[in-house]
């Protein structure tokens, strides 16, 4: 008990030197632990080589009106569809108030190139690849894409119309390098 008396001796405000040392030591250890957790959490993020695959060039010259191709960007499928005028007209006819994720077809295509509908082929529900890009596949009730996993129907502008998916198929960032080459990413 003698040492207990010693540590409080000469301290008027009732805070012992040992309390300060306890708090300082635990705080320091806490900061150290947090500093170690950071790299352990960060190693889970995509590595540099995964991020390096982030642009893809596509030649679209061979895609006839009414056809679509499936390609890939960042290991995810991409649909490139050459819309026919009837499909564009059908998409324009739909009032925005009917849409779950309201977007016009003009917002989903590039000006002057509105026949080129480029979207990720990843259903916004749980990530399956919807059907409809290849010849003869089920294109759903709205003539666009149909996801067989949980029954989401997309229209001719790849907008969600029916089923559990919350969003339209995502339009990735892309640019036309020329009339026939597109860079995604």
């Amino acid at each position: 008990m003698a040492s207990e008396t010693d540590t409080t001796a000469g301290i008027e405000d009732g805070v012992r030197r040992r309390d300060f040392i306890n708090i300082a030591a635990v705080s320091f250890a806490g900061v150290g632990a947090a500093a170690v957790v950071l790299p352990l959490v960060n190693q889970m993020n995509p590595s540099a080589d995964v991020l390096a695959q982030s642009t893809t060039e596509i030649d679209i010259s061979a895609i006839q009106p009414g056809q679509a191709i499936k390609t890939s960007w960042r290991k995810q499928p991409v649909f490139v569809r050459n819309l026919v005028p009837a499909e564009i007209a059908a998409a324009k006819k739909v009032p925005l108030s009917d849409l779950r994720d309201p977007q016009t077809i003009d917002e989903r295509t590039k000006p002057g190139k509105e026949n080129w509908l480029i979207t990720l082929g990843v259903c916004t529900h749980l990530g399956c690849v919807p059907l409809g890009a290849a010849e003869g596949e089920n294109r759903g009730d709205f003539g666009g894409y149909f996801c067989p996993c949980h029954g989401s129907h997309y229209d001719t502008a790849a907008r969600i119309r029916k089923g559990p998916a919350p969003k339209n198929l995502v339009v990735p960032p892309y640019e036309f390098n020329s009339d026939t080459v597109v860079t995604i990413g």
Binding site: K75, Q76, C128, P148, G151, A165
Partner: protein
């Protein structure tokens, strides 16, 4: 811990006496699963399933460690390395089929163990902690099984990983970054496969750790029993060894017979043919189905096809699916009836079997494609599942009039045996 009349461990040989002083491991075993642990004398075969689950875990760990010696966790070669195990490795086909079907056997045993607990009220005081730890084990098992199913890198593996990690993208605002963080990429690939392999190897040992806590928590009040009446004195119990080591041993024999029958005669009965096609990120199989033990939860996930309030259908589905399991954590407090065993609860007994039927219907819907009538059926089934725990159970536990109960376990046992001869003569 345990009852005052529990036999005390008294080593006879000098070596065992010496060991008991230095490291009383034999004492621990004696008091846990030996003659030193008194157990109610009236346990029926439904009390075998805890031990059977432990046996199933050991089988999974042993076969899994062996498989890891031949498997390569790289997206380029994983599928081929599994085929290498199946075709080239000596007895590799047997070890892989045992591991594959062992997972199914583990879940069959655990589902029976859970429904045993539901019927006999094993989750009630004083065993709430045993139940809570059990739900934790169940969650860990599901995570382990899911990650294990990804490893062969077939079509179902890949698309299962895509769909299940897609759950996290339902979280508002931070969902997509979380999913990318979990996968280490924008779609399942090498990074995801490697981390799943690492965690699939780790989690069974975490499960083993939680099982130790589960048994520890169980051994404080002691095992429950079919009457739900607590042990009152020594004549209500028998020592675990030899009585229940023998009874469990018989159960293990039956379990292994079913297990080898499945493994040798129809090893792919519970699998999906699509998983023998290598993963293709550009093509989803026409009909994605999880393993059978996830079907009821998968049906609940898919039951939400419409936005409701301010939450969209996708988030509702994910929330409902997790809530279906999280609900079990609250079960000890949702059921307020002081009577444990449904043998004495006429109303609860009926609704228990309705719940069993509901889970089977949900399972059937989860297996079927996302079209009518399965969508409507899974909506009704999911609604009933939640209603059972949140409405029906709290109400019946208040209004139900239990049947007259015997005073003790011994009285119940003796009454049963007194009936038997008169029934025989009649």
């Amino acid at each position: 811990m345990s009852f005052p009349w529990a036999k005390n461990y008294e080593p006879q040989q000098p070596l065992m006496k010496w060991l008991d002083e230095k490291l009383p491991l034999p004492r621990l075993v004696y008091n846990a699963i030996g003659a030193g642990y008194p157990v109610p004398r009236n346990l029926n075969y439904f009390w075998n399933f805890g031990v059977l689950a432990g046996v199933a875990l050991v089988i999974q760990i042993v076969t899994g460690i062996v498989l890891a010696m031949h498997y390569a966790a790289n997206a380029g070669v994983a599928f081929n390395s599994v085929e290498h195990i199946m075709r080239d490795v000596n007895a590799g086909w047997f070890i892989r089929y045992a591991h594959m079907n062992g997972a199914s056997m583990f879940f069959i045993v655990v589902y029976l163990h859970i429904f045993r607990g539901l019927y006999y009220g094993s989750y009630k005081a004083p065993r709430e902690m045993v139940w809570l730890l059990g739900v934790v084990i169940f969650l860990l098992m599901m995570a382990t099984a899911f990650m294990g199913y990804v490893l062969p890198w077939g079509q179902m593996s890949f698309w299962g990983a895509q769909v299940i990690t897609g759950f996290f993208s339902a979280i508002p605002a931070v969902g997509d970054p979380i999913r990318v963080w979990l996968l280490g990429g924008f779609a399942p690939d090498n990074a995801a496969l490697n981390r799943f392999f690492s965690l699939h190897y780790l989690l069974p040992f975490v499960i083993a750790g939680v099982i130790i806590l589960h048994i520890w928590a169980l051994h404080i009040p002691g095992s429950s029993n079919p009457t739900g009446i607590e042990v009152k004195d020594e004549q209500d119990t028998v020592p675990f060894h030899p009585y229940y080591t023998a009874k469990d041993g018989f159960g293990v024999g039956v379990f292994l017979l079913l297990f080898v029958t499945l493994t040798f005669f129809s090893p792919n009965l519970l699998g999906h043919a699509d998983n023998y096609i290598a993963a293709n990120p550009l093509s989803t199989p026409a009909h994605i189905v999880p393993e059978w033990y996830f079907w009821p939860f998968y049906a609940i996930l898919r039951a939400f096809t419409f936005n409701f309030l301010w939450i969209d259908a996708k988030l509702w589905g994910v929330l409902a699916m997790f809530a279906a399991i999280a609900l079990l954590f609250f079960l000890p407090w949702l059921d307020s009836s002081p009577v444990k065993s449904s043998n004495y609860r006429p109303l609860n007994r009926i609704f228990f079997w309705v719940l069993v039927a509901d889970v089977f219907i949900l399972g059937w819907c989860g297996k079927s494609p996302a079209e009518q009538p399965y969508v409507l059926l899974s909506q009704l089934g999911a609604a009933y599942y939640f209603a059972h725990f949140l409405i029906i159970l709290p109400i019946i536990s208040r209004i139900e009039r239990p049947l007259p109960m015997p005073n003790s376990i011994t009285e119940a046992v003796l009454a049963k045996h007194a009936d038997a001869p008169s029934a025989a003569t009649a």
